[in-house]
């Protein structure tokens, strides 16, 4: 049996898992329109590869992976791309971004699904994970192929699902354990892991049992299932690593620095589908929990609008808002037309009775309850003061960016301060400042280069002029010398007040005039030069007549 450890802090909110955990995963019907955002991962959008009017097959790539952190996006159903347009995304900002609007034809025709050898070349396996559009399905949506680059000893598969109300991973483990184990083995082999540990909270014994059974079927040498104590946030990456291996990862470091990497069970399942069946990630399991008459788990095509999905759970009449994610870390949806994305694990319907609005914020009394609850061993009250006073440098010194925004501090705060909101504000302000700073540095560099270039051009011009002047001077001196040696007899011009420089200048002017005259003579031939003898004769005749006439007028005078 694996020795388990404890992480500091943590809270125990009411789990509310039983409401939705009992019902098996049901396929959700396809909606009339699918809205597939091209931005599905935390790191950026895919390159659009379809146009309005294109026919697409289920699983066809509509957005290609771009850059080191890009992942592909696929058509979740066969049908027609009706439009490519900006739609509101399920994001706290409520901003719009490009989406493919697909009208499913209901035939569900797949692309050619080509399985890949799970024992094959790691590079092609990683490419498959990227091109199958697999991102972390636990909610952070970080590209999995990037995480799979690390070389590690221990692979941890995260089935803790610590957040209240959510049961999608629980159902997935109960029903599809074999494929989760297969996916974990692919990932483990890919990263050279010597052992694979599944972490499942002990409030999900059926899920742990299903995983153990699946492991028995394949050879269970390096695999283990550990039932971790139910304590929020046991499913946080660093927390789960600490519980299962005892490694406390310091501030600013990540699991792979210590030979550990963590993947969600849903991600492992998606990897198995992509490698063993050639199916890209086009659907996911979503929990409908909260204020519903029939809560449950559904397998939903990515891009299904939320308002088409909610009726499956029959939300009660007093539902006033829907949160994407759980009650601790989720965010209220800007509106219900937004589509389901790869990061959506739960749609929590809220009503004033079930989730009363937060009471007004009171002043911080520095009681330290948040510090005791913080699972990352930060000082949340200090961070709160720094964020509140916009003292961002100090907040960073107190490791603001190690905050996982789990919400434990706000949960225990007796003054009901929305602490996480302050940290999010501070984090995004710091990121914006870093962006501005980078832009300013770039502008400074470009400005300095421009000045350098202008200086250089000026210097080049001056050098050219100086060279020319020196050349003229030398020529002049030469001429002067020639004149002096040739015409010693010629009377020397000596002006009374004429100083040498004026003479020089006069000579320069004269030389220039001579040069100009010469150039004029050579450059502009008279238009009478190239004529036929006939014409020459005519001209001569005309000249003679003119001379004659002139002579006559002179005589008259």
């Amino acid at each position: 049996m694996l020795e388990l450890f404890r992480f500091p802090g943590g809270v125990k909110p009411a789990s509310h898992k039983q409401e939705s955990a009992g019902s098996p995963i049901a396929p959700a019907p396809l909606p009339g329109r699918l809205v597939v955002p091209f931005r599905q991962s935390a790191t950026g959008a895919a390159a659009i590869q379809v146009q309005a009017g294109d026919k697409v097959l289920k699983g066809q790539t509509i957005g290609a992976a771009e850059g080191a952190f890009g992942t592909a996006v696929h058509a979740p159903a066969s049908g027609t791309v009706v439009a490519i347009e900006a739609r509101t995304l399920p994001h706290p900002s409520g901003l719009a971004a490009p989406c493919a609007i697909i009208e499913p034809d209901g035939e569900e025709r797949w692309i050619d699904r080509v399985p890949l050898d799970p024992l094959g070349d790691p590079e092609s396996l990683r490419a498959r994970i990227r091109d199958a559009g697999i991102v972390g399905l636990g909610g952070a949506a970080f590209p999995s192929h990037v995480k799979a680059k690390a070389a590690i000893d221990t692979l941890i598969v995260n089935g803790a699902e610590c957040e209240p109300w959510i049961t999608c991973d629980d159902r997935l483990m109960r029903e599809r354990a074999e494929e989760i184990v297969a996916g974990a083995r692919i990932l483990g082999r890919l990263m050279g892991a010597k052992r694979i540990v599944f972490g499942v909270e002990d409030n999900k014994p059926e899920a742990a049992q299903a995983l153990r059974a699946a492991m028995n079927e394949c050879d269970g040498t390096s695999c283990q299932v550990a039932a971790v104590p139910t304590l929020y946030p046991a499913g946080g990456e660093k927390q789960l690593i600490r519980v299962l291996t005892g490694i406390a990862i310091p501030y600013g470091k990540l699991g792979p620095d210590f030979g550990v990497q963590c993947f969600n069970v849903g991600t492992a399942y998606a990897v198995a589908r992509a490698v063993l069946h050639g199916e890209p990630l086009v659907s996911r399991i979503v929990t409908l929990a909260g204020n519903y008459a029939t809560p449950g788990n559904f397998e939903v095509a990515i891009g299904t609008p939320i308002d088409a999905l909610l009726p499956l759970g029959q939300p009660r009449a007093d539902t006033d808002r829907v949160v994407m994610g759980g009650p601790m870390m989720g965010f209220p949806l800007p509106d219900l037309t937004v589509p389901l994305v790869k990061a959506s694990n739960c749609l929590l319907a809220m009503s004033p009775a079930l989730f009363p609005p937060p009471p007004p914020e009171m002043p911080c009394i520095r009681c330290g309850a948040c510090t005791r609850a913080c699972p990352v061993v930060l000082q949340p009250h200090e961070l709160y003061w720094f964020a509140r006073s916009k003292n961002f440098g100090k907040a960073q010194e107190y490791h603001l960016f190690d905050c996982i925004e789990c919400g434990c501090c706000a949960y225990v705060c007796p003054s009901r301060i929305p602490l996480v909101d302050y940290y999010r504000f501070a984090k995004s302000e710091i990121r914006a400042r870093e962006r501005d700073k980078a832009a300013a540095d770039r502008a400074r560099e470009r400005h300095e280069f421009r000045q350098f270039r202008e200086e250089r051009e000026k210097a080049e011009k001056a050098a050219k002029l100086a060279a020319k002047a020196a050349e003229t001077k030398a020529k002049l001196a030469q001429e002067e010398a020639a004149k002096a040696s040739a015409g010693e007899a010629a009377p020397e011009k000596v002006s009374a007040g004429g100083t040498a420089p004026t003479d020089d200048k006069l000579a320069l002017i004269a030389a220039a005039q001579a040069r100009a005259a010469e150039r004029k003579a050579t450059a502009a031939p008279r238009n009478t030069d190239a004529l036929t003898p006939d014409q020459q004769a005519q001209i001569a005749e005309a000249e003679a007549r003119r001379a004659h006439a002139e002579a006559a007028t002179k005589d008259d005078a």
């Binding site: 931005r39 995304l89 994001h91 706290p92 900002s93 901003l95 971004a97 007004p360 914020e361 929305p418 909101d421 302050y422 999010r424 504000f425 984090k427 995004s428 302000e429 990121r431 914006a432 962006r435 501005d436 832009a439 300013a440 540095d441 770039r442 502008a443 400074r444 470009r446 400005h447 280069f449 421009r450």
Partner: protein, 188 residues
């Protein structure tokens, strides 16, 4: 007595040599204060402060010739940072140098552009590409929004476009308690 004098003299020579060496080896190039001030300034190079760029303004501030509140793109926050750095009193932005505007970039209406290159010569960060009698365009990623290209344009084809908020630049707002009218609460 003599040995004592010799020891002291030797010490003086050694220390003097060490100090002399350090003065040459660790010589501070330029004024570090100017660099620090320049790092705070937004590098728009717009000249609204009355100096031909951010660096000259930084030099003037370091010498005490210029006030710290002459930089509209730096805004109130920039003034606060300068005040902190220099130990001076915070002052609101002086109106004569302009007002703080949202970040925007120049945009050339390519239908109207006659390709005169005047804006290219005015741009302090080389963010305009084009050639004589060819259409010009702005490299939006490099544009600092200094507006120096607006006055030289003979056909007024350049306008300033405020940058829209995107998912990459969106920021969480400062947490605020929503104010609810008492009447509404009473009715609810």
């Amino acid at each position: 007595m003599l040995s004592a004098i010799l020891v002291m003299a030797l010490g003086a020579v050694v220390l003097g040599a060490a100090l002399g060496f350090a003065a040459v080896k660790f010589k501070v190039e330029g004024d570090p204060l100017v660099e620090k001030i320049d790092a705070i300034l937004p590098q728009t190079q717009c000249g609204q402060c009355g100096y031909p760029g951010c660096k000259p303004y930084a030099e003037a501030v370091a010498k005490g010739e210029a006030e710290i509140n002459c930089c509209p793109p730096g805004g109130e926050e920039g003034i606060r940072k300068l005040a902190d750095l220099l130990g001076r009193e915070f002052k609101p932005l002086s109106g004569e140098h302009g007002i703080e505007k949202p970040k925007s970039v120049a945009f050339i209406d390519e239908q109207t552009c006659i390709g005169c290159t005047l804006c290219i010569q005015a741009c302090p960060v080389d963010a305009i590409v084009g050639a004589a009698k060819q259409m010009h365009t702005i490299l939006a990623a490099q544009c600092t929004g200094c507006e120096l290209c607006l006055p030289p344009c003979p056909v007024n084809c350049i306008s300033m476009v405020a940058l829209p908020e995107t998912l990459d630049t969106w920021k969480w707002k400062y947490p605020q308690i929503p104010l609810v009218p008492i009447k509404a609460v009473a009715h609810a």
